[in-house]
Amino acid sequence: MQFGLSESQEILKDNARKFFAGECPLNHVRKLAETGSTYDADLWSKMAAQGFTGIIFPEEYGGMGMSAVDLSLLMEEAGRALVPGPFFATVALAATVINAVATDAQKKKYLAPICSGEARSTLAEIEAGAGWGARAEGKTTVVNGRLTGEKLFVPAADVADFLVVAAGSGVFAVQRNAPGVSVTPMPTMDLTRSVYAVRLDNTPAEKLGDASGMERATDVATAALVAEMVGGMQRILDMTVEYAKTRKQYGKAIGAFQAVQHQCADMYLETESSRSAAYYAAWALDHDPAQAATAVSIAKMYASDACRTVGNRGVQVHGGMGFTWENDLHLYYRRAKASETMLGDATFHRERIARLVIDAPGARPQGVH
């Protein structure tokens, strides 16, 4: 047993960090956020050239065939850099679902162009009255292969070439420019990842597979999201420690005061604990399927609370500066809040854990694997 990164994983993470630092610096992220468009076509093609868009998908579709842990390491660095735009929606959400449920021919049609960087996509799942994991409650109808309904909080729908839509017991591909599709922005707190309402009115759709095959795929996406949250927490911690070392009051660095230092210590504890849970969840998805769902929910539950708390502590230590528009903290603070609820908040995942470990007969805490 070895619960640390391998040499090749360290290299992957390091390269991703350098890539994002060079190609997606924070002033660029801010500029995109302030202009209201989070998609940068140039950055997208550079990410595709790195192989990021196909990282965990089979080589036969142009992917890199790497593991869920590798995706999570990439997402951690993307989170640290606050990478904006459709990457998470396309790769972690849409492509993992396609890879899980579609036929070989459909994967050639939909997954291959994602891997190559030609296409962007997203997952349209939740509806009014049908939150995460409550697909059965959805009201979108399927009649003669045509979909009618409204999906909400769909990330990156504006730049998606096609959408992966969960409706009834099926999963469908819908072209963005198909008849009856309308996409309306839902402006939210998060300035770096936009979400949309997608209305479908008798829209032609291609069935990819059964919704029952989505669960593992959304768990892969959830583990990736947690890793991205860890990267964000790490960046908030780094910025805060740096500020506490340089900002002086009463003639000394404020980081010398225990009231400030202990906030930073707790941020460290919360970030590291989220990271342990995130790495394990990603690993379990590939290597311990029986534990994976529990591990993913534990990670999302903990990180959902931790990313909010770390953000609050970070702003508090920054004092008035942390509350300004000019300081970059709020960009992370906003993303953290959006990520907290995306794919289920802590309360949602606690209930999922309860179903897995309290209701399941013979449930008991897991041992060594």
Binding site: M1, Q2, F3, G4, L5, S6, Q9, V69, V241, A244, K245, K252, A253, G255, A256, F257, Q258, V260, Q261, H262, C264, A265, D266, Y268, L269, E272, S273, R275, S276, A277, Y279, Y280, W283, H287, D288, T294, A295, S297, I298, M301, Y302, T347, R350, E351, I353, A354, V357, I358, D359, A363, R364, P365, Q366, G367, V368, H369
Partner: protein, 395 residues
């Protein structure tokens, strides 16, 4: 990253599992609630049995009675002990703190003399660190040692000494040079608790038990060869011991937490609330799931830390998060147990209505000490702030 067991680890696990199946005493559940002294002798016998079977000191060198296996096998050992519901071992501080300190800083003679007797529980150890006026500020301690020929003569007082009432030996930190800055005049010694001039007075704690004691030294003579590390460089040795205490000591506790969690889940199915099992109450479910998740995260944090220690050889200051995590988590879990059981949770072992013989009333009170013992949560946060994050010293 590979959390699967290697072939070697699997073989170790299977062998251990077989041994535990044949050897874990059947009467342990009955003995669990025995008074401290009787229970201790029971655990000492059990540790001896483990030693004879070759299962004490998994990661300690073979030449001193250990198994010479990896730290990860040590982790597997704890996990299997938990799964088998085996009793813990008696010589807790010898195994967890003092043995590793002797392995790290001691001479060959020390290793020959002390290690195997720690493993077979023939000699029980305590740790003489805190004093009435040196708690969190440990380096300000005043117990003195004056050189006289081939001996040091020790005078002073230690307190909060766990196992002081039964210990044969003590790892003691003393001041050998009062004329230099406080960290520079300290020395670590191994002290025979049967030496004349030592008196031990039990301290009664909130739970009513006396796990720890005050220890008084009056002209206690310690041979110079019992010094561990260099004279006046004892702070480094003491820190080594403390890093083991913070970083790796909590791993054994996970056993206890997992047992508690399993029992709480069981109880939630048995107890009624508003005419249905408590396990169906949404708030109870939220709270139990939170505890379950955090206990699992404690395990994962520890696994990551052990992997790091396996690579570096020694625990570092980041181990303080383990100490904060296990201590504060136990308090949260015990509180959830109180809420789940309602007024029954407060019943003491002497009540015939007590759930689990009063274990939850005891556990709640005992957990109150967790964030104080082995370095307060405040001190652990100072350590993270300064030594891990590089913030200025705050004290």
């Amino acid at each position: 990253m590979d959390l699967n067991m290697t072939a070697e680890e699997q073989q170790f696990r299977d062998e251990l599992r077989g041994w535990l199946k044949a050897n874990v005493p059947a009467d342990w559940s009955a003995k669990r609630e025995d008074p401290l002294e009787t229970r201790f002798e029971y655990l000492r016998t059990w540790q001896r049995k483990l030693f004879d079977g070759g299962w004490a000191g998994i990661s300690w060198p073979k030449e001193y009675g250990g198994r010479g296996a990896s730290l990860m096998q040590q982790v597997i050992f704890w996990q299997e002990m938990a799964l088998a519901d085996a009793p813990p071992m008696a010589n807790v501080l010898g195994l967890g703190l003092i043995g590793p300190t002797i392995i790290g800083f001691g001479t060959n003679a020390h290793k020959q003399r002390y290690l195997s007797k720690i493993l077979n529980a023939e000699e029980i150890w305590c740790q003489g660190f805190s004093e009435p006026n040196a708690g969190s500020d440990l380096a300000s301690l005043q117990t003195s040692a004056r050189r006289e020929g081939d001996f040091y003569v020790v005078n002073g007082q230690k307190t909060w000494t766990s196992y002081g009432w039964i210990a044969d030996w003590c790892e003691v930190v003393v001041r050998t040079d009062p004329n230099v800055p406080k960290h520079k005049g300290l020395t670590v010694m191994l002290l025979d608790m049967k030496t004349p001039g030592i008196s031990v007075r039990p301290l009664r704690q909130m739970t009513g038990e006396s796990e720890f004691s005050e220890v008084f030294f009056q002209d206690v003579r310690v041979p110079v060869e019992n010094v561990v590390g260099e004279v006046n460089q004892g702070w480094e040795v003491a820190l080594g011991t403390l890093m083991h205490e913070r970083g790796t000591f909590g791993a054994g506790l996970q056993i206890l937490y997992r047992r508690n969690m399993e029992r709480l889940i069981e109880l939630s199915h048995e107890l009624e609330r508003d005419g249905r099992p408590a396990a169906q109450d949404p708030l109870v479910r939220q709270k139990l799931a939170q505890c379950y998740a955090e206990i699992e995260i404690m395990r994962l944090n520890q696994m990551r830390a052990f992997s790091r220690i396996s690579a570096t050889g020694v625990p570092g200051p980041e181990g303080s998060i383990q100490k904060i995590f296990w201590s504060e988590l136990n308090q949260r879990v015990q509180q959830v147990a109180q809420e789940l059981l309602g007024p029954y949770a407060q019943l003491a072992s002497s009540s015939s209505d007590a759930v689990d013989k009063g274990a939850w009333a005891y556990g709640y009170l005992r957990s109150r000490g967790n964030t104080i013992e082995a370095g307060t949560s405040e001190i652990q946060r100072n350590i993270i702030g300064h030594f891990v994050l590089g913030l200025p010293r705050s004290y």
